[in-house]
Symmetry: C2
Subunit: 157 residues, 2 copies
Amino acid sequence: MIRRFLSKNKAVLGYGLSLAVLLFILKWLELRFVIYDHAMELYVGAIALMFTLLGIWLARKLTRPQKETIIIEKTVYPDTSLGFVPNETEIAGLGISKRELEVLELMARGFSNEEIANRLFVSLNTIKTHSSRLFEKLDVSRRTQAVEKAKRLRLIP
Amino acid sequence: MIRRFLSKNKAVLGYGLSLAVLLFILKWLELRFVIYDHAMELYVGAIALMFTLLGIWLARKLTRPQKETIIIEKTVYPDTSLGFVPNETEIAGLGISKRELEVLELMARGFSNEEIANRLFVSLNTIKTHSSRLFEKLDVSRRTQAVEKAKRLRLIP
DNA sequence: CGATGGGTCATACTTTAGTATGATTTTACG
DNA sequence: CGTAAAATCATACTAAAGTATGACCCATCG
């Protein structure tokens, strides 16, 4: 606890210490030389200088550095393969299954139903049923519409 | 020239002025009260305080603010719908005509050939020929592929 | 002026897409 | 263990999409 206090109030402690040292020097000067009236200006000047310097030092120590936030806008071209996060909420809300989503993705990539069937190792009819259900759920009637809507809803990249 | 000097050295001049004022005050105090030995500490203290404050003020005026730059990189995704610039080079290179591009855009938006025909006030057959030529030029065989490729080549948004 | 390219349209045809319906098999869950 | 959702497949059909070919109009350009 004490260490924390020390570290937190380092500047203040430093100021106190400096003050003490300066007062000591003053006392010493007072004893060393009899202060005549004509020496007064010099004495005051010295004090002024010292404390001005102290003030400068204090100011530099105490003022916390001004933070300047520079926001660099970095344009990132939608690298569909890297930075895509599917809208799970929408997918779930529409009740689209995993398999249907797979079909949808391949559709969006321009594959025909037959090509999709070959890729997924199922029959053409299966793909047809999948796509039909997909169109129902997406409330569309053609694959191009489905792709357009799916991209708009961020179901697919 | 004088005004420029004044404005450039405002802080220095301020310091000089303050010093003069303070010295005047000191002189006044010296005249006003006879400075006894026991009043010495108080006097010195006042000077110390004043000059410390002056030093702080000076430091704040003269030293340029300590900046701590925080750089935040903010990724900005370009709004494809607003700031879209078609790749004219590619369009010209592939020899795609204005009308064909129109058809392509409507295709991408999910319209059927018949819908496109109605929109452009031409017959279904015309749209079919347009799309056939389009597919040839894009080297694809289906509309979904055409849309995918066109978007990839930035022919359409 | 004639060739060229863009746009239009038609007919005839093939292929792909999409719908309707029914059935079987997995798989997940209470 | 039984049920519901998901996934599979089939048949039969309709509706789009796409191809091939030929024709016509019109502006532009050498």
